[in-house]
Structure formats: structure tokens, C-alpha cells
């Protein structure tokens, strides 16, 4: 950098230079609101939890000598006399993706300062999330009635039950907490709570809530591919 230049504008910076500029010198490293950074760090830690769960599932599935039940058949349903493999899981996947779409819309409306539409789309997201949890409850009761337990199951390797209840249970808990989180924030946005506090607007908090919700959808992408389709 040459001296005497206008210091209020950033000099043009390359890719790695921008990283080193942010980490070097005695200053704030991340130029995002603190709440958003904390949510990212929380999601990073959650990535490790789900990463370790899925790795554990891989280990038990690879090491078992008993046959692994075929998820395509285990989660098949008869709808109107037609046998559809894995159909419930496919519907759950579409519901969760749709809820991610409505959440993205809510964040967009929050940035446009459109409070009414933000609340509507957050409520819609929570509703879709709740229906996802409902379908998961149906799936759990179906498997439990078929005799699947965390320690045994009549269809083959007992590790199937352990992995299924642990991974989908933990994910379902995340969705349930997300629904509550969305409902609380939507109610506060509706009341206009954030117009007085927190950066004088709800865009930040809605965006942070959105990060959590999209992460829940992201985890499902991995569970769907690695547990249900593999």
C-alpha cells in the first residue's frame, strides 16, 4: 500500500489477500453481525455431531456380518393399491425443501422490511416443519410396530435400528426445536419487537433463524442420500 491514498476505501484485494487482511492486524476478523457469526459457529459444531453420527453408521453397516435391511422396502407404502418404494421419505424430502424455499422468501421479505410477508412465510415454514415431524412420528410408529428396536430388528442387522433411531431421532429433534424457534421469532417480528432493538430491524434475526433452518434441511440431504438411498 502506498501512503497518501484515501484510506477510507479498501484497496483492491486478491482472494488470499482478503483472508489475510481480515485475520491480520489487531481488528475484528469477521465483518458480520455477532449473532450471525455465533450461529455459523454453532452450525459448524453441529456439523461435527451429525458427521460423527453418520460415520458411526457407516462403521456399523460395513462391519456387520448380518444382512442390512433394504431401506427401499422397509420404507415402502401401499398407496391406492400401488406399491411405492421409499415414498414417505421422498415426500418428507420435498416438504423439507419446500420449507427451505419459504424460509429463503421470509429472509428476502425481512430485508425488504416487509413485516407482514416475513411473518406469513416464517409461519408457513414452521407449518411445513411441523408436518415433517408428524410424518417422522408416523414412520417411527410404523417401524416400532414392525418390531424394530435400537438393539434388534426382525429384518436383519440389529445395527439398523440403532442407526435409524439415533440419526433420525436427533434430526427430528433439530426440526422440532427449529419449529419452536421459528414460531418464537415470527411472533416477535409480528409484534414489532426488533424495530426498537437489535439494529432497528428484523432482517438480521430472521436471517440467523434462516441459517439454522437451512442447516436442518442440509443435514437431511446427507441422511436421505447415505441412510435411505445407499
Amino acid at each position: 500500500m502506498t501512503s497518501g491514498e484515501d484510506t477510507t476505501t479498501r484497496p483492491p484485494e486478491g482472494h488470499w489477500q482478503s483472508v489475510s487482511n481480515d485475520w491480520a492486524a489487531d481488528k475484528q476478523a469477521f465483518s458480520v453481525p455477532w449473532g450471525k457469526l455465533m450461529m455459523w459457529i454453532f452450525l459448524l459444531s453441529d456439523t461435527f455431531i451429525f458427521g460423527i453420527f453418520l460415520t458411526g453408521y457407516m462403521s456399523v453397516r460395513m462391519s456387520t456380518v448380518e444382512a442390512w435391511p433394504n431401506p427401499s422396502e422397509v420404507f415402502a407404502l401401499e398407496i391406492a393399491g400401488t406399491h411405492l418404494p421409499l415414498i414417505l421419505i421422498a415426500i418428507m424430502t420435498f416438504v423439507l425443501i419446500t420449507s427451505s424455499g419459504t424460509m429463503a422468501m421470509a429472509v428476502n421479505f425481512a430485508h425488504q422490511k416487509n413485516r407482514k410477508n416475513t411473518v406469513i412465510f416464517m409461519a408457513l415454514t414452521a407449518l411445513l416443519g411441523a408436518s415433517f415431524v408428524g410424518m417422522q412420528a408416523f414412520e417411527w410408529s410404523k417401524l416400532i410396530s414392525e418390531g424394530v428396536r435400537p438393539w434388534s430388528n426382525p429384518m436383519g442387522a440389529p445395527q439398523f435400528g440403532a442407526s435409524f433411531f439415533m440419526i433420525t431421532g436427533f434430526h427430528g429433534m433439530h426440526v422440532s426445536i427449529g419449529v419452536i424457534y421459528l414460531a418464537v421469532i415470527a411472533a416477535k417480528v409480528h409484534k414489532g419487537h426488533y424495530d426498537q432493538h437489535y439494529d432497528k430491524g428484523s432482517h438480521n434475526i430472521v436471517e440467523i433463524t434462516g441459517l439454522y433452518w437451512h442447516f436442518v434441511d442440509l443435514v437431511w440431504v446427507f441422511i436421505f442420500a447415505l441412510f435411505y438411498l445407499w
Binding site: 482478503s18 469477521f30 457469526l37 455459523w40 457407516m58 424455499g101 438411498l229 445407499w230
Partner: protein, 122 residues
């Protein structure tokens, strides 16, 4: 700067989200069709992984806005999970070994001596 830049960065036409939304729908349908048509073996695994990575990429970059964040935050989020891949690699080797031991000692019928048939000579 954070306020004005953040504002600027987050303003995207709503069409971007709708396009990504449709794309995620299409990719999910493709993954479902892999199962529906009962594709097996390496073709199945490759397709599943490709659709998974594409979907994850679109969710992280567009829906979670990571594309538009500064690189310092992008590396904070994307680099540490690489350690999970290392764990996956190590556990795959370990699980393979445990499976070989179980095949020898827990299989039905005539027990094999581990000296007669070592796991890696299958």
C-alpha cells in the same frame, strides 16, 4: 461498513431463490428415481453422491448466502469439516478389518483358523 455492505449483499431478486428451489426439487426427484428404477452398484452410489453434493452446495451457497460472504467466513465454515472426511477414511479401514475378523470367528459352520485364511486373502 458491516451494516451497509451486509444490506447490499443480501438484496437478491426473489427469482434466484425460486430457481434454486426448483433445482433442488428436480435433483431430489432424480435421487428418488435412482431408487425407483433400482439402479445398483457403482452407478447407484455415484449418482447418489453427485446429487447429494449438488443439493448441499446449492443450499449452502445460495440459501445460506455463503457465496456472498467474505472468504474469511467461508473458510471458517468449510475447512474444519474436512477433518470428518479423514475420520471417514480411517473408520472405513477399521470397519473393514472388524468385518473380516467377524467373518472368521462368528460365521456359521466350520470355524476357520485365522492362520489358514487371513482376511485379506478372500
Amino acid at each position: 461498513m458491516s451494516e451497509s455492505t451486509a444490506q447490499q449483499q443480501q438484496q437478491h431478486p426473489i427469482g434466484v431463490y425460486i430457481k434454486v428451489w426448483i433445482l433442488l426439487f428436480v435433483l431430489s426427484s432424480f435421487s428418488y428415481l435412482v431408487d425407483f428404477f433400482q439402479l445398483q452398484g457403482y452407478l447407484r452410489w455415484t449418482l447418489i453422491l453427485i446429487f447429494m453434493v449438488l443439493k448441499a452446495g446449492f443450499i449452502i451457497s445460495i440459501f445460506m448466502h455463503l457465496r456472498w460472504e467474505r472468504s474469511a467466513l467461508q473458510y471458517l465454515v468449510l475447512l474444519p469439516p474436512v477433518a470428518i472426511l479423514l475420520l471417514v477414511g480411517m473408520m472405513a479401514i477399521e470397519a473393514d478389518y472388524v468385518n473380516a475378523l467377524r467373518e472368521i470367528f462368528f460365521s456359521e459352520g466350520e470355524p476357520l483358523s485365522p492362520y489358514e485364511q487371513l482376511p485379506y486373502e478372500h
